[in-house]
Amino acid sequence: MARIDLVDLAHSYGGNDAPQESFALKPVTMTWRQGGAYALLGPSGCGKTTLLNVISGIITPSRGKILFDQQDITPLSTQKRNIAQVFQFPVIYDTMTVGENLAFPLKNRGVPKPEIDKRVAEIGRLLDLEPYLNRKATRLTADAKQKISLGRGLVRSDVAAVLFDEPLTVIDPELKWQLRSKLKALHRELDLTMIYVTHDQTEALTFADTVVVMHDGRVVQSGTPAELFDKPAHTFVGYFIGSPGMNILPAEVKGREARVDGHVIALNRSYDNLPAGARIEIGVRPEFVDAVAPVPGLLTAKIERIDDLGRIRFARVRVGEAKIAARAPAGFTSSDGNVGLKFNPAHIHVYADSLLVEGAA
């Protein structure tokens, strides 16, 4: 168990001389505290698996350092690092029994036999594998195999962190829920640092207490699910988290006013020192935009369709080129296809070149 620090860490498959834009993992400095449940969230190809493999030592970073409890372990091989990892596709040693599979990481490290037996029994119990411990690990269902893989990751009590690389991809949706809540329970019970890579926001938001969002090789924000939702630090986070994602509108912002399509929207804070020449946008979640009957003074939009999600309805509307989703109250219809949009000023954020700008009170 340890605190993990990444110091100016970066990786390029093409070597350090390659232009930084091509780095698979752009320089990042951050800290993972001991015992935390983290999720690395991002679309495919955003560098999250690279970051994970750098931490576990499968990839040696081309730049920067990794510290476990202030100790530099960057040059150490995977075996020497105190780390466990579970992969996307289950890995089973099929000449062994399920129990031997679980014991394998301990046996390789010379843990005494009674200790191994105790650990294997405990993990077997936690993962409901008890009745199968003495059975050959062949011809099992995908979820049983992945449970064994998870078990091998969790069986060592002294690991600095357990890394999960999209471990539930191959599992049926129904069992996914079960396994995920199982993992969450295991996290509480075993007090291990867990880092969970996924491209599924539901998975990330339900599993983790800190979600790290990656985009294009960069860590764009790290925070609690609520923070990511309420105050996305990057337009990508706003767009990627939440369903539907945040509305991003090109705007001219001056003082406490944003001008969209010639219409003025009031802001709660004042933005006087925006960087000159930057691309300015405002972002607001669909939950904080109301579609109402068009009246003078409101931004008018053309309605395209209404999505009924059951507990809530979203109107998909268009203002000039920009598409917006807005909350449509029950029974809302539009006679001529025009709607007015009512923004909640407290939840409008201003972005300069995709990055959040804090306004003055």
Binding site: S77, Q79, F87, R109, L129, K147
Partner: protein
């Protein structure tokens, strides 16, 4: 549902039947025919029943003695060949590079011996090992080793075995390499994470994943080495004495040297049968070894239909209602 019966369909099988008949069955029946009779030339035949077979399997007769002795030599040879080539092939495959140009270089180099015709291999080693002009023989004798495959039994055996190892280990290595390449990287990464030693990786991942190709390698190498003829014939001619006379060499001696067609025919039939039986046993044992293990450890209800012991290699991969 009733199936339409149409006996004309048999005509469709006819061409294949004829081809097989002329290429395999008729020649085989000729051999069977010869094995039951004795001939002194001039197309005169005398019925001998199973006489040749009796003689062949009776060690006290000349024919039987020669056959059983060469059979013993042949089995020993195959055993030694397998014991050397299979582990060596695995080691070579494990130490081959995994990517980049060295892969191509290795593959080409390994494939070279496989492309050389048998009698050329024999000639190469025949000259290579000669004490007067051969590089190997000359050097060995000059460093003080008394090496002469023409006069010394052990030297002859060593030469023949080393020659075969040189010629065929590549085959095993290439097969194993193919098996190794098919293992996903995730297995190695997981093993690294699990802190597995090199030996543990080999035992837990590589060997189990290679067992299919190893089965093929063992079968091929057994059949080939059991039928070996050309190379030892070119190098030693079966000598010194009869020490490297394998069954095929003995067969040619009887058939063409002594022109004992009846004895030779009986011998070839028995020879053929032995190869078939041994291969079948190998195959059944090696494919069932895995299946047996699985069936034993299957949870109590024995509803699992046990794969029949015949030539059905595929272990049922159907997902079982498992641990969940």
């Amino acid at each position: 549902m009733d199936k339409t019966v149409n006996q004309k369909a048999w005509f469709l099988v006819l061409p294949v039947f004829l081809v097989v008949a002329f290429s395999a069955v008729l020649p085989l029946m000729t051999v069977v025919n010869y094995s039951m009779q004795d001939t002194f030339g001039n197309n005169q035949f005398f019925w001998n029943g199973v006489g040749w077979f009796k003689e062949l399997l009776d060690p006290s007769t000349d024919l039987g003695g020669r056959f059983l002795a060469s059979l013993g030599r042949n089995l020993f040879f195959s055993l030694v060949i397998l014991a050397i080539e299979v582990p060596l092939g695995i080691v070579v495959a494990l130490s081959m590079p995994r990517q980049g140009w060295p892969v191509a270089a290795c593959l080409v180099t390994l494939a070279l011996p496989l492309l050389i015709p048998w009698n050329v291999v024999g000639t190469i080693w025949q000259i290579f090992g000669r004490p007067d002009i051969g590089l190997l023989g000359y050097v060995l004798n000059h460093v003080g080793l008394d090496y002469n495959y023409v006069s010394n039994d052990i030297d002859a055996w060593v030469t023949v075995i080393v020659m075969d190892v040189w010629h065929w280990t590549s085959l095993v290595a290439l097969l194993c390499y193919a098996g190794l390449k098919s293992i996903p990287d995730a297995y190695y990464q997981a093993a690294q994470i699990d802190g597995a030693s090199r030996w543990a990786v080999f035992k837990a991942i590589q060997l189990p994943k290679m067992n299919r190709v190893l089965l093929i390698a063992v079968l091929l190498r057994f059949m080939d080495s059991f039928m070996i003829y050309t190379e030892p014939f070119v190098v030693t001619g079966g000598g010194p004495g009869n020490s490297t006379t394998f069954v095929s060499i003995e067969l040619v001696k009887i058939a063409l040297g002594q022109f004992d067609l009846g004895k030779a025919a009986a011998l070839s039939l028995v020879y053929n049968l032995i190869i078939l039986i041994v291969c079948w046993i190998f195959y059944t044992v090696m494919t069932n070894a895995g299946v047996e293990r699985k069936v034993q450890t299957e949870s109590k209800p024995a509803v699992e239909p046990k794969p029949s012991a015949g030539l059905k290699p595929v272990p049922a991969l159907k997902p079982k209602e498992g641990v969940a």
